[in-house]
Amino acid sequence: MVERRAFLAVAGTALAGGVLTACGSGSQDDNGIATETGAEQSTAASADVAIVNQALVVEQRAIATYRTAAQHLSGARRRTARTFEAQERMHADALASAVMALGATPATGRDRYAVPSLPDEAAVLRFAMGVEQIAVAQYLDLIPRLSSQNLRGTFASILTVEAEHLAVLREEAGQEPVPDAFVGRST
């Protein structure tokens, strides 16, 4: 129930922000002077669509990664992989909803993703960590490029969870879970 509320909260704000942006009615300052034309807002919305779809591709890769990971893990680690897969699915659903709210089509995932050799659980953890490191780097790059403040909030909340996943995986792998003060450096 808490997760559904959280999902609706972030997807809903993205939805509201997207609908507002897509209206193209232009905005005005306190003196009634237009501060942004409808055309400018439309361009910004189009740019945001491309950015959200980039993030969606990242999430689709993450879903596939944890699905594979769960098949090669056991016990508590398998449960963790399944939990993380479910969370990545919620990310993907929120991002797809945001794209549709902007009047566009969400990016579709691949049928198959490259998977390295996974001879043992340590290799599986390294594989998942690598995917999360890429996700963290992508979100850090994408957030400043978004024009929608609501979408920035959504992205930041997802980025934080990807970073948390990474910390958990590191700890499982016997590493220092938070080696650096800034994600995106050592990530």
Partner: protein, 184 residues
């Protein structure tokens, strides 16, 4: 945002009332800011609070050696966050408070003194991190400059990593939610 709300972020562990000023101060840091300079000044105050809290925690006799090491490690990372937000504030031409406010230091000491067990101290740290995440979540939606958005997003994610470790140390699921916004 009320004191009760700020205290609720301890994951079910009852915290002393003396923790409320620091928790509330962090949670509401960005509430009344207007523009990037004010927001970054608020970020400096948030990070000063976190540095004070972790340094004070590390001195508590109620923590075992592993927990002391954790508090020191996270305190060092909060200092790194403070250094970056301070630098960004200076680049905006803003005035940087040289020291944490005496009231903040006093609040940190009072909180740690009143929390007698390791569990309560770790829950307090978790509540601080949760409130910091909630504050940075707000800041992400108000900041304008790309460099500041990226820096604060990275800090918010780092606070999330601290929170995940603290949750695990308290025997709770480290990542219970798909979206981390700092809400209880």
């Amino acid at each position: 945002m009320t004191r009760r709300h700020a205290l609720r972020n301890a994951g079910g562990v009852a915290l002393a009332a003396s923790t409320a000023p620091l928790l509330l101060g962090v949670r509401t840091a960005f509430a009344a800011t207007n523009g990037d300079e004010e927001t970054m000044l608020a970020a400096v105050r948030v990070e000063q609070s976190l540095v004070v809290a972790y340094r004070t925690l590390a001195g508590s006799s109620a923590l075992d050696p592993a927990a002391v090491a954790l508090a020191r490690h996270f305190g060092d990372q909060e200092q790194a966050h403070l250094d970056v937000v301070t630098k960004e504030l200076r680049m905006l031409g803003g005035m940087v408070p040289a020291q944490p406010a005496p009231a903040m230091v006093k609040a940190g000491r009072a909180a740690v003194t009143d929390l007698r067990t390791q569990r309560a101290l770790l829950a307090f740290a978790g509540a601080l991190e949760t409130n910091a995440i909630a504050a940075y979540f707000e800041a992400q939606q108000s900041l304008r400059r790309p460099v500041l958005l990226q820096a604060t997003a990275a800090i918010m994610a780092s606070e999330g990593q601290h929170l995940a470790v603290l949750r695990g140390a308290l025997g709770r699921p480290p990542v219970p939610n798909a979206f981390e916004t700092g809400q209880p």
